[in-house]
């Protein structure tokens, strides 16, 4: 035995496919931001996130084994610290923290199991609606309900200009690193992507207008929305959507409750985005149509 000198040595439990990039591009990533329960890393316009195990994983994330009350702020990791891969299975963040990936398992998305969607489970959609309406808070969208209607109308009329204008009023709207408007767009984009076949379905006005407006928000939030358009999001979001689409009502209830508990407003706003997209799919076939 030897007393180990490393200040913080964390074990990665799961990692998304994109996280493996960091071992290929070695020294290109830097610390973008550090929060109590997340560290974001950046290289150009690509982001990766380190999260506690309890927070779940994602294609661009890795989870580490820490206690629920552990704060990443205690790691001594600062913005702009270099991220180095001293070995092919470990990362050093700043001067003190090492993350060991040697036993980490590649995370797989629950949405990979979703295919051949024809019907939306009404009882699960009702569970989501009930959860959203029972969560009382001063929702930013109470005052921007008009914008949602504007989006709906623009989509129904295949009106790219109107949609662009509506999204310009919603992307980047609200407080936080991922503003409320962005979270709503993320939820809608992810849900729409599940009904579409990559390579077969061409981008519609939704994809075009969303991409066009990403410059209105933070780089990190824009990255999350871009990923949602590609069909990827954080595990909690994907699991909620998966359970609403394919699960039993009890499973949907649990997964939605977990989603709605995320952040101050994020979970609710994403949930609302999922609900709107599913409702419009049910009523107009929006997700599976070109626009």
């Amino acid at each position: 035995m030897e007393m180990y000198e490393q200040s913080f040595y964390l074990a990665a439990v799961n990692h998304g496919r994109e996280f493996e990039l960091i071992f290929k591009h070695r020294d290109t990533f830097r610390v973008h931001s550090v929060f109590t329960h997340a560290i974001n890393l950046v290289a150009g316009s690509e982001f990766l996130t380190v999260l506690p195990l309890a927070r779940g994983c994602g294609r661009d994330a890795a989870t580490v084994a820490v206690s629920g009350d552990f704060s990443f702020l205690t790691l001594g990791v600062s913005i702009d610290d270099t991220v180095i891969a001293p070995t092919s299975s470990s990362l050093r963040l700043g001067k003190k923290a090492v993350i060991d990936f040697s036993d980490s398992r590649r995370w797989s998305s629950p949405l990979e199991a979703v295919n051949c969607l024809h019907l939306i489970k009404e009882e699960n959609l009702a569970v989501l609606e009930q959860a959203l309406t029972s969560k009382h808070r001063d929702l930013a969208f109470h005052v921007s309900g008009g914008i949602i209607e504007e989006i709906r109308t623009s989509l129904l009329e295949n009106d790219a200009k109107g949609l662009d204008s509506a999204l310009a009023g919603i992307i980047g709207f609200g407080p936080g690193l991922t503003p409320s408007g962005d979270d709503l767009v993320l939820g809608m984009s992810l849900t729409r992507s599940v009904f579409r076949v990559p390579g077969r379905d061409r981008d519609g006005i939704w994809e075009a207008c969303v991409r066009k407006n990403l410059g209105r928000t933070s780089d990190l939030s824009a990255f999350f929305i871009k990923r949602a358009l590609e069909g990827c999001a954080h595990e909690t979001v994907e699991r909620a959507l998966f359970c609403v689409l394919t699960g039993k009502p009890g499973e949907a209830r649990d997964a939605v409750a977990r989603l709605l508990s995320v952040g101050a407003t994020s979970g609710y706003d994403i949930g609302l985005g999922i609900y709107l997209a599913l409702d419009w799919q049910r009523r107009y076939g929006w997700c599976s149509r070109g626009w």
């Binding site: 180990y4 629920g68 009350d69 001293p86």
Partner: protein, 525 residues
């Protein structure tokens, strides 16, 4: 990127100095990575991982110093090399540490000369440990040798040298001791008392001390010996010296010896020495089948497990009817309930940070007629060919070298065990997950908090699978430990684990569950 590799042949420096230097160099602007260390295989691997390869590096030996720096420009490399040379020449400022009253010294002999210390605690790579231990003995200090990878020849030389000078050599690979009320290595906060222990088993000692504390008794001294002390080659030098100290110690009323089965010749001498002493004794030779409960004279009691060792020692001390921490009826009731929550094969997977505890579990399971595979199995038939892959009933010592090369021990960082915990939960044929948490000084500040996340994740996985899983935690610790044993237990219970405070009880619970479900199953390979 710019790189520089310097090898300084036959240059030995204290590892603390080198680690400080490496840290100092990494803090230099534009230095991306730096390694400063002796050219051991492990350190050379780390340097190769940085992208260095040269004949000079390959030829370097553990007696050579290797310096490898990667930087964004040549200037940073120059600054780094300058800082290293200054540091090695002794210009590194000796700083007061953050802890009031502590001082740092450049060498062991300097530290010995500066104060009235009686013991040197040594934790440097094994290649250099013997040299430091000799220096400590020459300075008149007892030695607590935490380092492993010390050759048996060096161990014998050191212990003989210590004996000639009346100095204990506790170790090598000594994890725990409590001397004069001060814990060394991994040690629990136990109340002072009249039971003196000599142990060749680190977590075994911690288990016995913790149970003694729970039963209301206390410890006079707890002397670690290192795992090879009772081998034929070493001949129990430290054990006999320790027992002599306990014999003459007025605070000690009962002596305890804990070890794996000693070499027969050493065993006989040991029992004779205990019988010749004036104080009653309890002996636990883990893995040995207890044929008689007492020695011929009746002065020495033989215990079959660690918990029983503590119970017998407490009974000898206070004469009161001290009982085991978990009764048979409690275990029966629990087993009955838990067995019904498991489907399928229901195999056991034990994930241990404490090697002695893992060994005890294998012994108790064997006595119960349940064979289990392990990376530390004595019987080759049950030795895992790949420690990363469990087979049927399996218990893993995750503190063993295979898992800790270049990484912290799982008692320091329990998170390292979590991926395996979750992986085992994914296997449908697994029904029981058994794991230990060893509290005390030196251990992780909140191992239950880290492990609870794995317990919850394992539950979620099994709920998705529609399969039950029993998760059993053994907590070795006391109310006085910095982590607080009850608080840790509460965290794990809330996460969904069953919590017991004795490894013997946890293992017997496992054995009962397996038998409830149809008896001891044959192992599959």
């Amino acid at each position: 990127m710019f790189k520089r590799l310097v090898i300084k042949p036959n240059s030995y420096y204290d590892s603390i100095v080198l680690m400080r230097l490496a840290r100092k160099v990494r803090n230099i602007d534009d230095v991306v990575e730096a390694q400063v260390g002796m050219a051991t295989d492990l350190n050379k691997d780390a340097v190769r991982e940085m992208g260095f390869s040269s004949e000079e590096l390959e030829a370097a030996t553990p007696n050579d110093l290797v310096i490898a720096v990667v930087a964004e420009d040549e200037g940073a490399l120059d600054s780094a090399e300058r800082a290293i040379n200054e540091g090695l020449e002794g210009s590194v400022k000796r700083e007061e540490t953050a802890v009031k009253g502590e001082k740092t010294y450049a060498t062991l002999s300097e530290a010995a000369a500066a104060g009235d210390a009686g013991i040197a605690a040594i934790s440097v790579p094994g290649e250099y440990a013997a040299r430091e231990a000799r220096e400590a003995l020459a300075s008149g200090l007892h030695v607590f040798l935490f380092s492993d990878n010390v050759s048996i020849e060096d161990e014998i030389r050191l212990k003989k040298l210590g004996k000639e000078n009346g100095l204990l050599v506790m170790g090598p690979d000594c994890g725990t001791a409590v001397i004069g009320g001060v814990g060394l290595g991994f040690a629990n906060k136990v109340r002072p008392g009249r039971i003196g222990i000599v142990a060749a088993a680190g977590t075994g000692l911690q288990q016995v001390m913790s149970v003694i504390d729970s039963l209301g008794e206390g410890i006079s001294e707890a002397i670690g010996t290192g795992g090879r002390d009772l081998s034929e080659e070493v001949g129990g030098i430290t054990t006999f010296m320790g027992l002599a100290l306990l014999e003459s110690d007025s605070n000690t009323a009962v002596k305890v010896v804990i070890s794996k089965p000693p070499h027969p010749s050493v065993r006989d001498n040991l029992i004779r020495a205990l019988e010749d002493g004036s104080k009653p004794a309890v002996v636990c030779f883990m893995g040995e089948d207890v044929k008689a409960q007492r020695s011929e004279s009746g002065k020495v009691l033989f215990a079959g497990d660690l918990e029983e060792t503590a119970v017998l020692a407490c009974r000898l001390t206070s004469g009161e009817g001290k009982e085991r921490l978990h009764s048979d009826s409690e275990l029966d009731e629990l087993a009955y309930r838990l067995a019904r929550t498991i489907d399928g094969e229901g195999f056991l997977r034990g994930l241990y940070s404490g090697g002695t505890l893992c060994h005890e579990t294998l012994t108790i399971l064997r006595r119960a007629g349940i064979d289990a595979y392990s990376n530390i199995a004595q019987d080759k038939e049950f030795l895992l060919t790949n420690p990363l892959e469990s087979v049927a009933h399996t218990c893993i010592d995750m503190g063993e070298d295979y898992f800790t090369r270049g990484k912290p021990h799982p008692m320091l960082e329990p998170g390292l065990r979590i991926p395996r915990h979750i992986e085992e939960a994914r296997h449908e044929d697994v029904g029981i997950l058994l794991f230990d948490l060893v509290l005390g000084y030196g251990s992780h500040p909140n191992p239950a908090g880290v492990t609870a996340e794995a317990v919850k994740e394992a539950r979620r996985i099994r709920e998705d699978m529609g399969k039950g899983l029993v998760q059993i935690a053994v907590i070795v610790g006391t109310a006085g430990d910095p982590q607080d044993v009850e608080k840790q237990a509460g965290i794990l219970r809330e996460a969904g684990a069953e919590v017991l405070f004795s490894n013997r009880a946890a293992t017997e619970l496992v054995a009962r569950i397996i038998k409830e479900r149809g008896g001891a199953r044959p192992c599959l390979r």
